[in-house]
């Protein structure tokens, strides 16, 4: 009876999370355009907050570019500051 339990144990601990890769690094992006609202919409949450890096998997360098682009885009009222 104890036998079937034993092999299951280690299995449970091995869950595997897909490693997130920075989308911009894959595309070799050097410049995130503030005019590209379609792209930026993908990096804001429903409340229009900026999507954190831990969720999007964007690297630090590209997150900075995304952040800058979102802020510029907000200034021009292309994307919202907040959901109303």
């Amino acid at each position: 009876m104890a036998r079937p339990k034993a092999p299951e144990r280690p299995k449970k601990k091995v869950f595997f999370r897909r490693r997130k890769v920075c989308k911009f690094c894959v595309d070799k992006t050097e410049w995130v355009d503030y005019k590209d609202t379609k792209l930026l919409q993908g990096f804001i949450l429903e409340r229009a907050k900026i999507l954190p890096r831990r969720i999007s998997g964007t690297c630090a360098r590209h997150q900075r570019m995304v952040q800058e682009a979102i802020k510029r885009s907000r200034h021009l009222a292309l994307i919202p500051f907040t959901a109303d």
């Binding site: 339990k5 299951e8 449970k12 869950f15 999370r17 997130k20 989308k23 894959v26 595309d27 992006t29 050097e30 410049w31 995130v32 355009d33 503030y34 005019k35 590209d36 379609k38 792209l39 919409q41 993908g42 990096f43 804001i44 949450l45 429903e46 999507l51 969720i55 999007s56 998997g57 964007t58 510029r72 907000r74 200034h75 021009l76 009222a77 292309l78 994307i79 919202p80 500051f81 907040t82 109303d84």
Partner: protein
């Protein structure tokens, strides 16, 4: 060489002609200041993401500028600030180490999947929530 982009967000109540004269005025200022207008793009009337000055729409114009040395933009910005037909403006330097930044290569195969993948909240929630919950549930029932 330096390149800049200037976006002007103007009052939607301006007529097409007025809008043309407004952009021409600024373009003249730029060329008079020793720079060159490389591109001009009118986006027409667009809905604003949030109201500005109680307006829900605005007219957008994009002007690309390139210059060697002297920049007329401080002067242009001053005028933009004084013009009450201009709701917002943005000037951005678009060159790095003297070279214009290449426009991003369109990645059609990744396009629809890319922004949706990281952008979707539920996907991320699943990532963090599921392993924990599953682990606890299984071990509880067996023991």
């Amino acid at each position: 060489m330096r390149t800049y982009e200037l976006v002007i967000v103007a009052d939607p109540r301006l007529t097409d002609d007025e809008m043309v004269t407004l952009t021409e005025d600024y373009k003249k200022m730029i060329t008079a200041g020793g720079a060159e207008v490389t591109k001009e793009e009118s986006w027409g009337r667009r809905k604003l993401a949030y109201p500005i000055a109680k307006l829900n729409e605005a007219r957008y114009v994009l002007i690309c500028v390139s210059t060697d040395g002297k920049s007329p933009l401080p002067e242009v910005e001053l005028r933009l600030r004084q013009n009450d037909k201009v709701l917002r403006y943005l000037t951005v330097r678009t060159d790095r180490n003297g070279k214009p930044i290449p426009p991003p290569q369109p990645r059609e195969e990744r396009g629809p999947q890319g922004p949706g993948g990281p952008g979707s909240g539920p996907g991320a929630g699943r990532d963090f929530g599921a392993p924990g919950r599953g682990d606890r549930g299984e071990s509880g029932e067996e023991n």
